[in-house]
């Protein structure tokens, strides 16, 4: 018997996440004149990323509720693991 799992995408505090298509992603990068690695990151292991089935390298559009702007759009690139600078050499 499988338990019915709670769909986190429906939770009020989880903002809308949309996986961008290749063309859309291209457009975003061009608009901000930026390489994907300069975008904010989100771990592939993030619960929402797993739920919407995004893969490393994908760009996700996140639409949040905002106190100042009502709606705030941001983009994140999915990464395998953190790329934060390490203290040690590899």
């Amino acid at each position: 018997m499988t338990k019915k799992r709670f769909n986190i995408l429906e939770h009020e505090l989880v903002p809308e996440h949309i996986v961008l298509s290749k063309e859309e992603a291209e457009k975003v990068l061009e608009h901000y004149n930026i390489k994907p690695e300069k975008l904010p990151k989100i771990l592939a292991s993030d619960p929402v990323v797993r739920t919407i089935n995004a893969k490393p390298g994908d760009i996700i559009k996140i639409i949040r509720k905002s106190r100042t702007a009502k709606k705030a759009v941001s983009y994140r690139v999915v990464v395998e693991e953190t790329t934060a600078p390490t203290l040690m050499k590899k």
Binding site: Y32, N33, K38, P40, V73, S74, T86, M88
Partner: protein, 888 residues
């Protein structure tokens, strides 16, 4: 275009340990003598001031490299001390402990079988790849080693290793000497080091136990010669003397075969001196002290904390061309100006490069000499120095009364003169603590007599300055670019609106508000002579008020018309007044007619108070800046403050303790109210004692009682205040100040005239002190009003001794809170600033860091600059509607 290319990137920074052989290799000399100089003042060879360690006296040559002191000169050279016995390095005790805990004393291997080691090796590799801290792997390994009883390789019984702070290690309670520790560490094979989080290339674990101590060059610890000719050595030198002395004694005693006890004592003493040499704030041992009793500043103390190398010499430095003195007010200066005393103006200079175009002017300036005045003795800027640059050599010639003419003749294009401050120079002005950007603003200089910096009172709020002895700093800008930037970005008028809340932070305060209030309240009729005197204070009038005549033929003006003289002709605005007691009030049908309606630059209704012109609140200031720019705003504030001061001077204004006088009848009423409250409390306590008190939801009986009592005492004070307030009308100076927002509050007044009220510590009635009671003046277990800190007296009447004591308890809590808050929030702010200081809003409104990584896709999510917003919002819809209506 955002450049994503990285020009230079630091790959990595590595910190490694010095090996004993490395220390010896870089040493210029072995140091064996604890003395520094001989009787003739020459450094003793192989002493701490050996000339091979470098030179500090100018002219002398270094015995090692042959260079002199100074730039490109001798950098100084390390020496070394051979320690008779090894000592633990305090900086590494934790690492040593980990090494001892993880390895076998017999064979030196990690206390786990090969299979486990392999697992940990893989885990470590993975951690590094994923960017996690590999020290966490060591932590896990140590945890596993804790449970090992026997070495899986040689079978030796594993002892329990303890670190006895600061530098003693014990195995099963038995002391390990540093020699034993070092022998143990030596046994650890290289291949096990990575798992102990030690890089083989960087260090061997036994190097954490010192056998040889590097002696820093004399340039690091220069000695100073006092006026008396006496030499004073650096703290480090003092400490090194101690180390060498004990080291010598230890060596002699050991060699002479002294008893073990004596050798051990000396060994421990050597450990103490080396430890304090490295860090004199090691917990667990008394800090080494100077003869005067001052703790020595040793290696760690040189780097650590606010006074350390990083925060005090690298992140921030002392600067030239700056001045500091006491501040005082000057209402006749513009908010953009600062009054600089002549003495300071003569010392601070602005560099001016002589060119063919200004050569004559420069010559004239130089000719004036260093302290010129006009014929009637007024200040004139002179020249302090002339700077000539030839073949890269800078030459500074001091201008004196005598050589002024000569030097002036020799002046050529390309040379620089350092001209003294003059009116209109732009300078930075600052008051600490510099908590926001308005703590440092650009002002224009006005050279003034006397010895204080002076500025307009409206600029007090952004600096949080008052004149009870505050001092402020002034910096003279030295370059054209800096001056241009200051002029455009940093001038006071560019900061009237705060980026914090979008409202004015610079505006009228105290007497300015009282003055304007007196002028406009009830649309006062001002006799013509007074009116003209007030108006004469206003330099830039938009229009002249109309003159009326009364039945006696006396001419007068209306106060509101006088104030309207400052208002732009096309200004139309309405807003609620601070004095209006009906918030939120629509000015059009304000019951008290105090809310403001301005049409075409004329006040039609209302009174000017804090809500109109005050710092933090002034709606008029906000509007004028929105419509007429920062220049308009500056003019308005300059004029309004002058008008306010002129008005209050003409009308006269004073306050005293008799402003809190209330009729006997009112006093009786207040007493009765308080008596009733006390009775009510006694009643509550009685019900509680009888166990008949109904608990509030979610509270127990005691809490319920306390809450009920707090409510009663709160209400009693409010009622007392109301009764007192009834007799304190707007003919009362203190009330005028409170109601107009100039200073003080009605609560202050009701505490002075009515009753001070319940004192609290930690939000509760006062309950600490003696057993079962707060003070011995009360019965044990008393829960009444008086026994728990209710102050029924007024400040004017005076407090009883017990009331006074409770009041002090409440006051003390406030003081402690502020003290704790400032240090905590200061640290928090430091970290926030360090994290955010290099973020920047780009042209496309994204917020990016220096790697142009995006932090925020739209600044503040809405892209609005709060300084240019309408109270934080992008558009003020009501304003647009009222503008359209007005234009109809």
């Amino acid at each position: 275009m955002v450049d994503t290319g990285i020009t230079k990137k630091i790959g990595r920074i590595e910190f490694t340990l010095l090996s004993p052989s490395e220390i010896r290799k870089m040493s210029a000399t072995k140091v064996i003598t604890a003395d520094t100089y001989d009787d003739d003042g020459f450094p003793i060879p192989m002493g701490l001031m050996d000339p091979r360690l470098g030179v500090i006296e100018p002219g002398l040559r270094c015995k090692t490299c042959g260079l002199r002191v100074g730039k490109d000169g001798c950098p100084g050279h390390f020496g070394h001390i051979d320690l008779a016995m090894p000592v633990i390095h305090v900086g590494f005790v934790k690492d040593i402990r980990d090494c001892l805990r993880a390895t076998c004393r017999e064979c030196g291997r990690i206390l786990l079988p090969d299979k486990r080691l392999e697992t940990y090796r893989e885990m470590r590799e993975r951690y590094i790849k994923e960017g996690k801290d590999p020290a966490l792997v060591l932590k896990m390994l140590l945890n596993e080693c804790k449970n090992v009883e026997k070495c899986p390789r040689c079978g030796r019984e594993v002892g329990k290793i303890e670190l006895d702070k600061p530098t003693t290690f014990r195995e099963n309670g038995k002391k390990l000497t540093p020699s034993e520790v070092r022998e143990w560490l030596e046994k650890i094979p290289d291949e096990d080091l990575p798992l102990l989080d030690i890089e083989r290339k960087a260090a061997r674990p036994e190097w954490m136990v010192l056998t040889v101590l590097p002696v820093p060059p004399v340039t690091v610890r220069p000695s100073v010669t006092l006026e008396t000719g006496e030499r004073s050595e650096d703290d480090l030198t003092h400490k090194l003397v101690d180390v060498i002395r004990i080291n010598q004694r230890l060596q002699e005693n050991r060699d002479a075969g002294a008893p073990q006890l004596i050798v051990e004592d000396l060994w421990e003493l050597l450990q103490y001196h080396v430890t304090t040499y490295l860090d004199n704030q090691t917990s667990g041992i008394p800090p080494a002290r100077h003869r005067s009793g001052r703790p020595l500043k040793t290696l760690a103390q040189r780097l650590k904390g606010k006074e350390g190398r990083f925060r005090s010499n690298l992140s921030g430095k002392r600067v030239n061309f700056s001045a500091r003195t006491v501040i005082s007010p000057d209402p006749y200066l513009s908010i953009n100006e600062v009054g600089v005393p002549i003495e300071i103006a003569r010392e601070l200079t602005v560099p001016v490069r002589a060119t063919p175009h200004n050569l004559e002017w420069c010559k004239m300036m130089v000719k004036r000499g260093p302290a010129p005045t006009t014929e009637d003795g007024k200040y004139l800027p002179g020249v302090n120095y002339i700077i000539r640059e030839r073949e890269g050599m800078k030459q500074r010639i001091k201008v004196t009364e005598k050589n002024a003419d000569d030097v002036s003749e020799k002046l050529e294009p390309g040379m620089k003169i350092e001209r003294q401050l003059m009116d209109g120079d732009i300078v930075l002005f600052n008051r600490q603590p510099s908590l926001h950007r308005m703590s440092m603003m650009a002002h224009k200089v006005r050279v003034v007599p006397y010895r204080t910096f002076r500025f307009n009172l409206s600029v007090c709020p952004p600096y949080n300055a008052d004149f009870d002895g505050d001092e402020m700093n002034l910096h003279v800008l030295q370059g054209e670019e800096a001056r241009a930037e200051a002029e455009i970005l940093l001038k006071v008028q560019e900061h009237i609106l705060s980026p914090r809340f979008g409202g004015p932070i610079i505006g009228a305060i105290h007497d300015h508000i009282t003055g304007c209030f007196l002028l406009t309240f009830n649309n006062r009729k001002v006799p013509l002579d007074n009116a003209l005197q007030i108006l004469s204070a206003v330099v830039e009038k938009e229009k002249m008020p109309k003159i009326y005549k009364d039945e006696n033929g006396k001419s007068y003006m209306y106060g509101r018309d006088i104030f309207s003289a400052l208002l732009p002709k096309d200004l139309t605005i309405s807003f609620p007044a601070k004095v209006c007691s009906h918030p939120p009030c629509d000015p059009k049908d304000c019951p008290t007619k105090t809310c403001v309606i301005i049409e075409k630059g004329v006040i039609k209704q209302g009174v000017i108070d804090e809500n109109a012109i005050g710092a933090f609140k002034g709606a008029l200031i906000s509007r004028i800046i929105q419509d007429y720019g920062n220049d308009g705003g500056r003019k308005f504030i300059d004029q309004v403050t002058r008008l306010g001061i002129a008005a209050i001077s003409v009308f006269g204004f004073t306050t005293g303790i008799d402003d809190e006088d209330i009729p006997l009848e009112a006093k009786r009423q207040i007493e009765e109210t308080l008596e009733n409250a006390k009775e009510k409390i006694n009643h509550l306590v009685e019900i509680y004692r009888r166990g008949e008190l109904e608990p509030l939801p979610g509270r127990n009986l005691d809490e319920t009682l306390e809450m009920e009592i707090m409510r009663v005492t709160g209400k009693a004070r409010d009622t007392a205040g109301e009764i007192a307030g009834k007799h304190l009308g707007l003919n009362n100076s203190a009330v005028i100040m409170a109601k107009s927002g100039a200073r003080g509050s009605m609560l202050n007044l009701s505490q002075m005239a009515g009753c001070v009220g319940q004192q609290a510590v930690r939000g509760e009635r006062i309950h600490r002190g003696y057993r079962y009671r707060t003070l011995p003046h009360f019965k044990k277990g008393s829960l009444g009003a008086d026994a728990k800190g209710f102050v029924s007296s007024s400040y004017k009447k005076g407090l009883t001794p017990t009331e006074y004591f409770f009041h002090s308890m409440g006051g003390r809590e406030g003081l402690v809170d502020t003290a704790v808050r400032t240090s905590r929030s200061g640290y928090m702010q430091r970290r926030l600033i360090n994290a955010l200081e290099n973020l920047k809003v780009e042209d496309d409104l994204t917020v990016r860091d220096t790697d142009s990584e995006i932090i925020q896709f739209m600044y503040g999510e809405d892209g609005v600059d709060p300084m240019r917003s309408a109270g934080g919002l992008a558009v003020d819809v009501n304003r647009i509607i009222s503008d359209i209506e007005g234009g109809r």
